[in-house]
C-alpha cells in the first residue's frame, strides 16, 4: 500500500465587467476575437491598466480561504513564448500573491478535512487555441480575462477528497459572487499533481502532473487511474517518470511530455503597474463584507437549529436559498416548518419554473406569515402549501388569498362536532367497524371525510381529537 499525496492548482475566471488589464468586455462569447482590445493582442506600445474589481474579488476570495493578504498589490511578469500568450509574458503574481497560508475546511463524507492553501494569486488568462491538422487558430476573447490561481499544499489523499474540495471551492466562489465558475465554459479548471509514497516513509515520491481538467468527475477518474497505474509500476519496482499527462475519454491518462528541466520563467516585477499599498481600513471593510460560508451555515443548522443533516446540506448548498431560509427565520418563524416549506414547496417551485429564488414571487416575509398561520393552527400545513402554490401561480400575496377565499379554519368545537356527527351518521358502517371490530383505521377515514365536507377548513388536530371522543362516546353508548 502506498500513501497518496495530491496537490491541486485551480484556475478560476473572475466575473468582472472588463478584462484584467484592458477595457475589453469580460463576457463569454462564441464569436471568436470579438471581445478584444489592443492590450489583449500584445500590440507594440500597449500598457496594462489594472482592474480594481478583479483585485477586490481576488483579495476577498483569499480572505474567505483564510489567507494572509499582502501589504501592497504588485504584479510580476512570467516570461515564455507560446502562441496563446501574445505579449510573450503573462502578468501574474509571484512576489506578493493576494493570499498565502490559508485553508478551506471541507466536508468529506461526515468528516471535516482541512485543505491547506499555499497561495492565491491574480493573473490573466491566455488566448485559446483551436488546433486543426494543418494549422491552428487563435481566439483572443479569453486573452486577459482575470484569473485567480489557487495552489493547495500537497495534503489531499484521495480522489474523493479532491472532488469534495473542488466542489466546496466552487461553492466559495459562488457564495462570494466572484465567479460563475462554470467548468463547462472552462471558467474553472484544475491541474492535479499526484505522487505515491511508501507507507511510513517521509520522502515524497516522483510527481506526475495532469493539466487542465475541466470536469470534477474527471479529476476523480484521473486520480484513481493514476493511483492504480503508479502503484502497479512501484510494485514492479519500476520508477515513476516526472511528466505531464492528460486524461483521455477512456478514463485513462496518457503522457504528454516529460519534464526534463523546469522552465525558467525569468520572473521580474511588472514595471508598468505601480505598487498599491493595501490600507488596513480597506482590508477590514472587505473582511466585514465576507458572507458566512457553506460549511459554517451547515454546522449552524445542525447544531443550533437541530435541523437534520440532509436538510441542512440542501439549505446550505446555495447561498441565495440559504439567505432566503435565514431571512424567513429572522421573522421568528418556526424552524421545522420553515425547513419543511423551503426544502419542499420553495425548492420544487424553483425547479419547476427554472428560476432562482430571487425571482420568486413569494418573499421570505410572505412565507413567514404563511408559516405563522400554520404554526398557530389557523390553517393546516397541507393547506398552507396549497395556498403557497396558488399564490405563486397567481402572483397574489398568500395572506390575501387566505382572507379572500375565506379559507379560515374551523376551530369552533361545537361547529366541528356538529360536522363530525353528520359525517358519522352518514357512514354508519365505519362507526360499526370501530365499535364492533375495534378498527382504528376508520379514524383516518373520518378525518378525510370531515375535511372533505368542511371544504378542508376543519382544524385537523381538533377534528382528530373530537372524532376520537365521538367514536368512544358512541361505543360506550352502544353498549
Amino acid at each position: 500500500m502506498y500513501k497518496v499525496v495530491i496537490g491541486l492548482e485551480v484556475h478560476c475566471e473572475l466575473k468582472t465587467k472588463s478584462k484584467n488589464f484592458s477595457s475589453a468586455p469580460n463576457t463569454f462569447s462564441t464569436f471568436p476575437n470579438s471581445n478584444v482590445a489592443a492590450v489583449d493582442l500584445g500590440l507594440p506600445g500597449i500598457l496594462p491598466v489594472v482592474n480594481k474589481e478583479a483585485c477586490r474579488k481576488a483579495l476577498l476570495t483569499a480572505m474567505a480561504l483564510n489567507c494572509q493578504n499582502p501589504d501592497e498589490v504588485i504584479f510580476d511578469r512570467k516570461n515564455y513564448f507560446y502562441p496563446d500568450l501574445p505579449k510573450g509574458y503573462q502578468i501574474t503574481q509571484v512576489t506578493k500573491p493576494m493570499g498565502v497560508n490559508g485553508y478551506l475546511d471541507v466536508l468529506v463524507g461526515d468528516k471535516i478535512k482541512r485543505v491547506k492553501i499555499h497561495q492565491l494569486h491574480l493573473e490573466e488568462d491566455t488566448a485559446s487555441l483551436e488546433h486543426h491538422p494543418k494549422y491552428s487558430l487563435i481566439d483572443y476573447n479569453r486573452s486577459g480575462i482575470p484569473l485567480i490561481e489557487i495552489v493547495t499544499e500537497p495534503c489531499i489523499e484521495s480522489g474523493e477528497e479532491a472532488v469534495a474540495f473542488l466542489e466546496d471551492l466552487r461553492d466559495v466562489f459562488l457564495f462570494l459572487g466572484v465567479s460563475e465558475a462554470k467548468s463547462n465554459y472552462g471558467q474553472m479548471r484544475c491541474d492535479v499533481n499526484i505522487s505515491l509514497m511508501e507507507e511510513g516513509s517521509t520522502k515524497l515520491g516522483t510527481k506526475v502532473e495532469m493539466k487542465n481538467i475541466n470536469a470534477f468527475n474527471n479529476v476523480k477518474v484521473a486520480i484513481e487511474y493514476e493511483i492504480k497505474r503508479q502503484s502497479a509500476l512501484l510494485d514492479k519496482g519500476e520508477k515513476i517518470i516526472q511528466e505531464t499527462r492528460r486524461i483521455a475519454e477512456d478514463g485513462k491518462t496518457y503522457s504528454m511530455r516529460e519534464k526534463v528541466d523546469a522552465i525558467d520563467y525569468k520572473y521580474f516585477i511588472e514595471p508598468n503597474i505601480p505598487s498599491t499599498p493595501l490600507r488596513h481600513e480597506y482590508l477590514e471593510e472587505l473582511r466585514s463584507s465576507l458572507p458566512e460560508l457553506k460549511l459554517d451555515r451547515y454546522l449552524k443548522y445542525i447544531n443550533k437549529y437541530n435541523i437534520g443533516k440532509s436538510d441542512a446540506k440542501v439549505l446550505a448548498k446555495v447561498r441565495s436559498i440559504s439567505d432566503y431560509f435565514e431571512e424567513v427565520l429572522s421573522y421568528g418563524s418556526d424552524v421545522s416548518l420553515a425547513v419543511n416549506f423551503v426544502t419542499t414547496s420553495i425548492l420544487s417551485t424553483l425547479n419547476k419554473l427554472e428560476i432562482s429564488v430571487d425571482e420568486l414571487f413569494i418573499s421570505p416575509k410572505m412565507l413567514s406569515e404563511v408559516i405563522e398561520y400554520v404554526y398557530q393552527g389557523k390553517i393546516s400545513l397541507d393547506h398552507g402549501k396549497k395556498i403557497l402554490y396558488k399564490a405563486i401561480e397567481e402572483k397574489i400575496d398568500p395572506i390575501e388569498l387566505i382572507k379572500k377565499e375565506n379559507l379560515k379554519q374551523i376551530n369552533d368545537e361545537d361547529e366541528l362536532l356538529e360536522l363530525i356527527k353528520k359525517v358519522m351518521d352518514d357512514n354508519l358502517e365505519q362507526v360499526r367497524q370501530y365499535i364492533e371490530e375495534d378498527n382504528k383505521h376508520v379514524i383516518n377515514f373520518f378525518i378525510g371525510q370531515t375535511m372533505k365536507v368542511s371544504n378542508r377548513q376543519a382544524n385537523p388536530n381538533k377534528s382528530l381529537e373530537l372524532i376520537k371522543c365521538e367514536l368512544e362516546r358512541r361505543k360506550t353508548d352502544g353498549k
Binding site: 489592443a38 500590440l43 506600445g45 491598466v49 513564448f81 501574445p86 509574458y89 525569468k266 508598468n272
Partner: protein, 487 residues
C-alpha cells in the same frame, strides 16, 4: 521664410495669415524630401494631412514623430525588419494629443533599431547623418528626430529617451532635448524598450518651445498607470522667473576641471574648459554652482547597471515580436521553429546580443547577482542624487566628452572615466528626474551640449533654469544651414 523658424515665429506667420497651415505643411515636407537622401531622418514622410481646427498654439505647426510611436494607419517600424510592414491599429496618447492640438505630422523618424543604441546607425533603412557634418553621427536612438530639428525641417520632434536617447543626439545636433519627470507624459503607444526607464522626450530649437510642447503633452493618462496627476500649471509661464540664488552642482568625477588635467584628448580638454567658462557666466548671472564628489565605484557601476536593467526589460518587452500576431511570419513546421526563424531574420545582431544578455541576466541563477544588484545600484545612485537635490536645485554637466563622433571612429573608449562622462545622463532615467540638454558652445564648428537635471516633478524649475542659461550661450534657435533650398 519657413525653414529654421521656431514655434512662436511660425505661429505669428499663421496668425497674421502670411502663410496657411497647408503651405506650412507643404514647406516642411518639401524640406523633409530634400534632405532625405543625404541625412536620412525619416522612415516615412507623409504626403497629406488632415488639420484639426484648434485654438492651440500648436495648431498648424509641423512636427515629426519617432517611428516607435503607434500611429493608426501609418506605418510604424521601430526601424526594425521585424516591423518593417507593421501598420498600427491604434494611436499613442502623445500622437492623439498632438493631433487634437492641430499639430501636423510631417513624418516618422529613424531610430536605432527598437530604440536600442546610441549611434543612429542601426536602423533597417540605414544610418542617420549629422547635419553639422555628414561624416559624423548624430547619435541616438532618437537620431532622425534630432536630425530633422537640427536641419530646420520642423520646429520640434518627439523622441523617446531610455538612457539618454534624446538628450545625447540633441547635444550632438546643437538642439534642445527635454525629458520631463517619469510619468509626466503618457507612454501609452510608445513601443517599450525598458519600461521603467522609458520617457517620452522632446527635441526643439529653444527651451521655450520644449516647454510649449510639454504643456500640450503632459497630464495623467488612464491608459498609463504610472502617469502623474495632472497639475494646473503651464511650464511656459514660469520660464522667466528669477533664478538668483538657485543652486546647481556638478560632479567632480564627471566633469571636474582637475579630474581631466592630464588628458591628451584636446577636444575633451576644450569641452571641460568651455563648460567651466559657461559655469562662470552662470555664476555672474546669479546661480550658485558648487562641485560635489560621489563615490567613483557608484559612478562606474552606472553603465553596467543600466545595461543589465534595460536589456532585461527589453528582452521581455520585445517578446511580442514573434511574427505570430503581426510582422513577417517565420517559416517552420513547429511553432518553436516559426518563432525562432521570424526573430532570427527580424532582428540585427546587436539586438540579438542585447536579448541574449537580458535573458541571461534574468535567469534564475543569475538574477540575484546581475539583475537585482543592478536594481540596487540604481537605488543607491538615485538616493544619492535625491539627497543632493535637498540642497541643490539641479545638477549640471556636459552631455559628452566630445563632439559628435565620426562614422569610422572605432575607438572603444572603455576607460572608467570615459564611461562615466559618456553615460552620466542615464541618472535622469534611473530616478525619473526631469533633464534637459541645450547647446552651450561650438567646438570646430560642431555644437556641444550641456545637461541640467533636477528634482522629480520640478520640471518647471529645470526649464526655467535652462532658459536662463540659454540666454548666456547665444546658441538659441540654431540649426545647420546646409543645402541649397529656400522655403
Amino acid at each position: 521664410m519657413y525653414r529654421g523658424k521656431n514655434i512662436t515665429k511660425i505661429r505669428e506667420l499663421l496668425d497674421k495669415k502670411v502663410i496657411t497651415k497647408e503651405e506650412v505643411f507643404e514647406k516642411a515636407t518639401s524640406l523633409a524630401h530634400y534632405f532625405q537622401d543625404e541625412y536620412n531622418s525619416f522612415v516615412t514622410i507623409l504626403d497629406k494631412v488632415k488639420i484639426k481646427d484648434s485654438d492651440s498654439l500648436l495648431s498648424g505647426i509641423p512636427y515629426a514623430l519617432k517611428d516607435n510611436f503607434s500611429t493608426r494607419g501609418i506605418l510604424t517600424t521601430a526601424s526594425s525588419n521585424i516591423l518593417k510592414d507593421y501598420v498600427p491599429v491604434y494611436d499613442a496618447t502623445v500622437y492623439k494629443k498632438l493631433k487634437k492640438a492641430g499639430a501636423t505630422l510631417v513624418g516618422k523618424t529613424v531610430l536605432d533599431e527598437l530604440a536600442m543604441g546610441g549611434t543612429g546607425t542601426t536602423a533597417h533603412t540605414g544610418v542617420v547623418r549629422n547635419p553639422w557634418d555628414k561624416e559624423r553621427m548624430i547619435g541616438g536612438s532618437s537620431a532622425g528626430s534630432a536630425a530633422c530639428v537640427a536641419l530646420g525641417i520642423v520646429p520640434f520632434a518627439i523622441g523617446s529617451d531610455t538612457g539618454d536617447s534624446v538628450r545625447k543626439p540633441a547635444g550632438f545636433g546643437g538642439i534642445v532635448g527635454f525629458k520631463p519627470t517619469y510619468g509626466r507624459i503618457s507612454r501609452y503607444g510608445l513601443f517599450a524598450f525598458a519600461s521603467s526607464l522609458d520617457h517620452v522626450a522632446i527635441c526643439s530649437r529653444n527651451v521655450r518651445d520644449a516647454a510649449l510642447v510639454t504643456d500640450i503633452l503632459k497630464g495623467q493618462d488612464p491608459l498609463d498607470m504610472v502617469t502623474l496627476k495632472s497639475e494646473n500649471v503651464k511650464y511656459v509661464d514660469t520660464l522667466n522667473d528669477d533664478i538668483k540664488g538657485k543652486k546647481l552642482f556638478y560632479i567632480k568625477e564627471v566633469c571636474g576641471k582637475d579630474f581631466y588635467k592630464d588628458t591628451n584628448d584636446l577636444v575633451l580638454k576644450k569641452v571641460i574648459t568651455t563648460f567651466h567658462d559657461m559655469l562662470d557666466k552662470c555664476r555672474d548671472k546669479g546661480f550658485i554652482i558648487e562641485e560635489v564628489s560621489i563615490d567613483m565605484d557608484l559612478l562606474t557601476a552606472l553603465y553596467p547597471a543600466y545595461m543589465c536593467i534595460s536589456c532585461a526589460e527589453a528582452t521581455s518587452n520585445n517578446a511580442n515580436l514573434t511574427g505570430i500576431q503581426f510582422g513577417p511570419r517565420g517559416v517552420g513546421n513547429t511553432i518553436e521553429e516559426i518563432i525562432f526563424n521570424a526573430r532570427t531574420e527580424g532582428f540585427s545582431e546587436l539586438i540579438k546580443r542585447r536579448f541574449v544578455l537580458g535573458s541571461y541576466i534574468l535567469q534564475k541563477e543569475n538574477q540575484e547577482k546581475l539583475y537585482l544588484n543592478a536594481c540596487r545600484v540604481r537605488r543607491l545612485i538615485v538616493d544619492k542624487i535625491t539627497e543632493l537635490f535637498e540642497e541643490y536645485d539641479g545638477m549640471i554637466a556636459p552631455c559628452s566628452g566630445g563632439v559628435a563622433p565620426t562614422f569610422d571612429s572605432r575607438s572603444e573608449k572603455l576607460s572608467a572615466r570615459y564611461l562615466i562622462l559618456e553615460n552620466h545622463m542615464v541618472m535622469g532615467n534611473f530616478g525619473g528626474f526631469p533633464s534637459i540638454t541645450i547647446p552651450y558652445t561650438m567646438i570646430d564648428k560642431l555644437p556641444v551640449g550641456l545637461n541640467i537635471t533636477g528634482r522629480v516633478k520640478d520640471d518647471a524649475l529645470i526649464l526655467n533654469i535652462a532658459q536662463k542659461i540659454e540666454e548666456l550661450t547665444g546658441l538659441k534657435d540654431i540649426y545647420a544651414k546646409v543645402g541649397e533650398i529656400d522655403v
